[in-house]
Amino acid sequence: MTSLKRIRLVAMREIRERGKSKAYIISTIFTLVILGGAIVVPGLLGGGPSNHHVGLIGDGGDEIVATAAELAVREADEGEESDTFETTRFDTLEDAEAALDGNDVDVVLVDTSEIVIAGFGGFGGPGGGGVTNLLQQAASTLRVQELVTENESAAEVISILSSEPLTTRDVGGSDEENAGLRGVIAFGGLVLMYFAVLTYGSWMLSGVTEEKTNRVVEILLSTLKPWEIFAGKLTGIGMLGLGQMLMLVTVALIGIRIQGSVEVPDLPIDSVVALIGWFVLGFLLYATLFGAAGSLVSRMEDAQNAAAPLSIIAVVGYIFSFVALNDPTTLWAQVGTYFPFTAPYVAPIRLALQEIAWWEMTIAVAVTIATLVVLIGLAGRVYAGGLLRFGSRVKWLDAFRSAE
């Protein structure tokens, strides 16, 4: 039997057993629900038109509300319903404030001079954002209208005030339509990479330790070579991770489409391909080290401790990468591109933001692959040396030396 076939058997067992474990299914569903919720829910809550209830005292209020309603119609996107207004007239300020207090009205307009609100009620709540802005805009529209000549129609004034008279031109170099989306991909990619490194790294860690804890490893080693088991586990867990990752991305894209804020087909394909490629490299790089750490301990309780230095590298690399996210052209961002433990974070960010030259990307990939090759050699040896040493935690160097 060839090594490839053995590796495939180990990988398939990993996928089958881990894939149907409660832990995997629950964590996948949980992550999908959170992600889906984070994208869709704000849209559902804040996106729809609202009905504003305005209390009126004195004269002139009706006119402001009518203008505000007109402005709302203009501001609404084509084909969407606009905000609507409802008014209630009060005789005294006391009555009006009582109604405001009881949430019967959102705001109270006193003559044409004052808006009374009851504190900040959240973005969608009474007196918050939308309604006061609309009323303020309407009031100023009416004041301007008083100043201009009779033949200027009210509609024209409103049109001028509610439009953007200056056009915007971006000379940043990136194609404008995708600029926002690229930023989202850069940030989303970074978070996903971080999630992947830590989550799938810890799967590798616990997967290796588990086989030592339950002593299966000695049976496996009587037939399989250490590197075959290691490669099989990496492949299996990597595939499960990639599967989960693709599910997450798919749900994110569907969520964005439902919300309708971004045109999904415009997704820059180079960024997505690079992100998947870097996901594989980043996963292999970190999971190799986590796997080696797992072979040093015999008990699950010790596994996290053995892997602590690696987790710190992963977290520091993630935090460091915000430098590149803020400004992908800085020296630090360039340094991070060539350092193997930050490259999987930084390189896709710079690519997504279109701030990386092809040769920089080539060097980054080459450096990471070269490091990976060396690490697989070292980690494979530590793994082979650590596997059959049960009991207390084995030191990295001892495991390396004692490899058969």
Binding site: L9, V216, E218, S222
Partner: protein, 295 residues
């Protein structure tokens, strides 16, 4: 024939194997004996490449053991291990497959073993839900599922209850009868004497005694004399000429005497101290031989 030849292995100052040499013949069962720390596990692991000896070789029919050969061997490590959450049948089939069986062969063989050991109804339960005894049965099946030519079992009887031990004995006898080369280590010498035709005793990494049990007994320079007698015999029995040791087991005096000693003289002298009601004169037990060998 499985031949372990001149194995040397040391860990720093500690010598684990010191020229260990023995053979396991197809169709015969070898009991591999030795005190704790004598090198039994190290020797068995070196068959599977789990330990690389400093020098020496392990061969099967004259051929050095490589991956393909090793796939035809079955191993039960001293430290038992199964995936707790994996179903018994899936698990056995997996072990079959990594030894090179096809998917359907592995599945059929796993099912067959589970049926034979009375576990067919538990085949699709996770191993962790099985009783301790049943887990031991699955463990045994794991070493046998790929129908190996050579079986190497490290302490297979430890932790087994009498029923489990008898199941284990039956299976080992049957596999040996099929022409397999079987070697197992054990501290239960009665059991080994009962099961094995051949034994090898390792002490401080070296084989100090090996061969066919019966021949070893016959060739031994000692004999065993068991006496049941009335009277205060204890004082004199240990001091008779030609008696190596004397002890009392279950009210019976057990003397180990030189094979050359005339047993009638010993009996006559014993008679002078009391009345001999019953005596057995025989070759030494395996335990006697073992103690002599590692003394």
């Amino acid at each position: 024939m499985l031949r372990i030849d001149q194995l040397y292995k040391s860990y720093g100052q500690v010598v684990a194997l010191d020229g260990c040499t023995f053979e396991v013949t197809p169709g015969r069962m070898l009991g591999f004996l030795g005190p704790n720390g004598a090198g039994k596990t190290t020797a068995m692991r070196s068959v599977f490449g789990l330990v690389t000896p400093d020098s020496g070789s392990v061969t099967w029919n004259g051929q050095r053991i490589d991956d393909d050969l090793r796939a035809r061997f079955g191993y039960m490590p001293e430290q038992r291990g199964l995936y707790p959450k994996m179903k018994a049948r899936d698990q056995l089939a997996y072990y079959g497959r990594i030894h090179g069986m096809s998917k359907s062969d592995a599945f059929d063989s796993a099912t067959g073993w589970l049926e034979m050991l009375g576990l067919e109804e538990r085949a699709d339960d996770p191993v962790e839900q099985l009783s301790h005894g049943n887990q031991q049965r699955v463990q045994l099946s794991a070493a046998l599922v790929h129908d190996p030519e050579v079986l190497v079992l490290d302490e297979p009887f430890s932790g087994l209850d009498p029923i489990g031990a008898s199941t284990m004995s039956d299976v080992l006898r049957r596999e040996t009868a099929k022409g397999k080369a079987v070697v197992f280590s054990s501290h239960q010498l009665d059991l080994v004497e009962d099961l094995c035709e051949d034994v090898a005793v390792v002490h401080q990494g070296r084989i100090v005694m090996s061969g066919v049990v019966k021949a070893l007994k016959d060739a031994s320079p000692i004999r065993r004399l068991e006496l049941e007698m009335d009277g205060p015999a204890d004082r004199i029995l240990g001091h008779l000429d030609g008696v190596r040791s004397a002890s009392v087991v279950d009210g019976r005096h057990v003397l180990l005497i030189d094979a050359a000693t005339d047993v009638r003289r010993v009996l006559a002298e014993a008679e002078s101290a009391g009345t001999v009601r019953h005596f057995i004169y025989t070759t030494p037990s395996l335990t006697d031989l073992f103690k002599e060998a590692v003394a």
